[in-house]
């Protein structure tokens, strides 16, 4: 087909789009009285449902509730597609072009990279999405606050609390990469410290595995009371689904998800997920305050309930804005370290997590909750999925500062 005219048009369109997409150096004066927050997360990939557009809406809710205290707040959003080069590029560009705080950032490799950039540019960075406990450990910076959860918290709650609840022999199915290893290692430590035994483990290739039947059968053969799934996302969903298929849970063995969120349970359905053990630091139906904030979020989130990752955006934004109001916009734009220090100095309190503090190494403290997924008969409706088994109070839930190897803290 002759395509000359068509290709010219197509080329023009592509060229136009490309030009429009180029980051022009803006000569506009920075609006001195506006705080700009950039929500950088995964909007189109495997972690979309965990924070994604919902996390963005939660941040916007916080801005709305904060109200007008003498300055404007603007929220922008970008999809880092779980790619560090894109995430780093956007973070750099944002910081250079007037964004004051970067929020969210799931995917640990991106999360760690942005921490470095925030330090380099002396801006503020609140991470609510990454799991790596290194953010408050060897990779800690004075510009970073790690808000939500980390592998240590998950391991301690699911591992330690589970043993106390009777699951004292474990077998691990581990995703064979750094995150999976870290989850397994940390949880195994807690299991042993609480008096339990690790019967064995199997490591499967990540991210290329969809069929876990072989590993589940090995787990079954070990006769462990608990099968710990040191993986996340679709891998966990597949493991749980296939465990149900092989009737593993029907024979009294418990499945412990070492990293799982409410949307994952929703994707599984209660019939398959019932009896699953997991840890989150937030559940919408936990107490009156959480119910209140979930209700307030309903117009924004519609059919979906917030989980610990998305609501963390709300909580973090609210606290950040309080710090800004406390020190004044002008002072906050000078140094990100000052803002973070002010955030550490003010106690936190919001409907999502209640009262809390931020430690010197950037770790926000909150209680962690061990949940079990309800059976279909016990649930009154969509997202009514969890029953509370155990609570670990905030002071004990996270790794002690002295053990973190954070260069800022000289113990």
């Amino acid at each position: 087909m002759t395509t000359t005219r068509r290709s010219v048009l197509g080329g023009a369109a592509a060229g136009g789009a490309a030009l429009g997409g180029l980051p022009w150096r803006s000569a506009r004066a920075q609006a001195a009285n506006t705080i700009r927050i950039g929500v950088l997360n995964d909007m189109s990939g495997p972690y979309r449902d965990i924070s994604g557009p919902y996390g963005l809406e939660c941040a916007r809710q916080a801005v709305q509730e904060f109200g007008n205290r003498g300055f404007n707040v603007e929220i922008i959003n970008a999809d880092h597609q779980n790619r560090p080069d894109i995430g780093v590029n956007i973070a750099r560009q944002w910081y250079d072009q007037g964004v004051d705080m970067v929020l969210d950032v799931p995917t640990s490799s991106v999360g760690l990279a942005v921490a470095n950039i925030a330090r380099e540019k002396n801006k503020a960075y609140v991470n609510t999405g990454s799991a790596t406990s290194d953010l408050t450990g060897p990779a800690c910076t004075p510009n970073t606050v790690h808000w939500m959860y980390d592998t240590y918290m998950l391991a301690k709650s699911t591992g330690g609390a589970m043993v106390r609840a009777g699951g004292d022999s474990w077998f691990f199915i581990t995703a064979d990469y750094a995150f999976g290893h870290a989850l397994e290692r940390d949880t195994a430590n807690f299991v042993r410290n609480a008096g339990g035994r690790v019967m064995g483990q199997v490591r499967y290739p990540f991210p290329a595995t969809t069929d876990f039947s072989s590993f589940l059968v090995q787990a079954q053969a070990s006769r462990a009371k608990v099968i710990g799934m040191a993986n996340a996302g679709a891998d966990t969903i597949n493991t749980v689904k296939q465990a149900a298929e092989f009737g593993i849970t029907r024979r009294g063995v418990k499945l412990a998800a070492l990293l799982m969120f409410l949307p994952d349970v929703h994707a599984l359905g209660l019939q398959t997920a019932q009896g699953l053990i997991l840890t989150e630091s937030f559940y919408w139906d936990l107490n009156d305050r959480t119910r209140a904030i979930s209700e307030r979020l309903r117009p924004r989130l519609r059919d979906v309930r917030p989980n610990m990752a998305s609501i963390a955006n709300y909580s973090a934004t609210l606290h950040y804005l309080k710090a800004i109001a406390d020190m004044g916009v002008a002072a906050s734009k000078v140094s990100g370290v000052d803002v973070i220090n002010r955030m550490k100095g003010i106690p936190c309190d919001d409907d999502a997590f209640g009262a809390g503090t931020i430690r010197a190494d950037g770790r926000k403290l909150c209680p962690s909750y061990l949940f079990e997924v309800k059976a279909p008969s016990e649930s009154r409706g969509a997202f009514d999925y969890y029953k509370l088994l155990q609570t670990t109070p905030a002071e004990e839930a996270f790794r002690p500062m002295s053990e973190g190897n954070c260069p800022m803290i000289r113990a």
Partner: protein
């Protein structure tokens, strides 16, 4: 003999059986790919997305229309096969004269579009789909508990593979198809409607992928990425088996499932790479694959 290489015998047999079941999936998927490549010379990268569509259509049938698994086994491949026919008529037919590369690129682009649309619409966590009650439960085989559904998968996949092979090798329609790939103008001169046959063949290959998707829906998470993970492995299977050979793909699919199963027992970390190592070795030793015609 209680243990073989340190693994208890019952466990080993159990793993072999599981490997065979996985092999059934690989075989079914690579069958569709082999049919399309063998007869159309198109490298159908959309196969993974069409597999995913098959699973999603089954879910949609259940969720929106209340139509259950057994009907979905028939309806889903038909519907997805229909989309395949439309694709072929509009875009793919232009590729026959071009280099293989363009076929791959076009179908790869299609797979990106399809996956992106589904992900935007349905999110990335996946949809719940349960094993039909008639097939749930497990048999106690002594050395392991084998879910009934998995046994069904093997049986059905074997049935599909054998039927397809018979149609292509033993029926007149199959003979026309094979002749058309060798010399289309001549076959057309004999009065056979070659373009229509080719369209239907593509549709049939796509339908096979969708059928595999329906089979997978109860046991794998039904999410938009489910095809991407499998597609590379399936390609490797087809290449190892020989790109034109249907029998080769089926046998390699099952064989690979078993090899993978064994690797999962002895050295699980490598179970994803083992197929690529095998592919490189096979391609170096036999350039056209194990059963392929160069």
């Amino acid at each position: 003999m209680d243990e073989i290489f340190g693994i208890p015998t019952p466990l080993l047999f159990g793993q072999l059986l599981l490997g065979l079941i996985n092999g059934a999936f690989y075989a079914m998927l690579s069958l569709g790919l082999a049919v399309i490549f063998g007869l159309l010379n198109i490298i159908n990268f959309t196969h993974g997305a069409q597999f995913m569509m098959g699973a999603f259509v089954a879910w949609m049938l259940l969720n929106y229309l209340g139509i259950g698994y057994w009907w979905a086994l028939i309806l889903s491949p038909l519907l997805v096969g229909l989309t395949g026919v439309i694709l072929e008529r509009t875009m793919i037919c232009q590729l026959y004269k071009m280099d293989h590369l363009y076929g791959m690129l076009l179908t790869f682009g299609l797979s990106l579009i399809i996956e992106g649309i589904f992900r935007n619409q349905y999110g990335s966590s996946g949809m719940p789909y349960r094993i039909p009650p008639e097939l749930s439960g497990a048999w106690d085989l002594g050395f392991m508990f084998m879910p009934v559904y998995r046994g069904w998968v093997v049986v059905f996949a074997l049935f599909a593979c054998i039927t397809t092979w018979l149609v292509i090798e033993k029926t007149r329609l199959g003979a026309y198809l094979r002749a058309a790939t060798e010399n289309a103008p001549l076959v057309q001169a004999f009065g056979v409607n070659v373009p229509r046959m080719i369209t239907l063949t593509y549709g049939a290959g796509v339908a096979l992928a969708a059928l595999a998707g329906v089979l997978a829906a109860p046991i794998y998470s039904v999410n938009p990425q489910m095809g991407t993970n499998l597609i590379i492995v399936v390609f490797a299977v087809v290449v190892i088996g020989g790109m034109g050979s249907i029998l080769g793909s089926v046998l390699t699919g099952f064989g690979l499932g078993i090899v993978e199963g064994l690797t999962k027992v002895f050295y699980p970390e490598a179970s994803a790479t083992v197929i690529f190592i095998i592919m490189v070795i096979v391609l170096l030793a036999r350039p056209a694959g194990l059963f392929g015609r160069a």
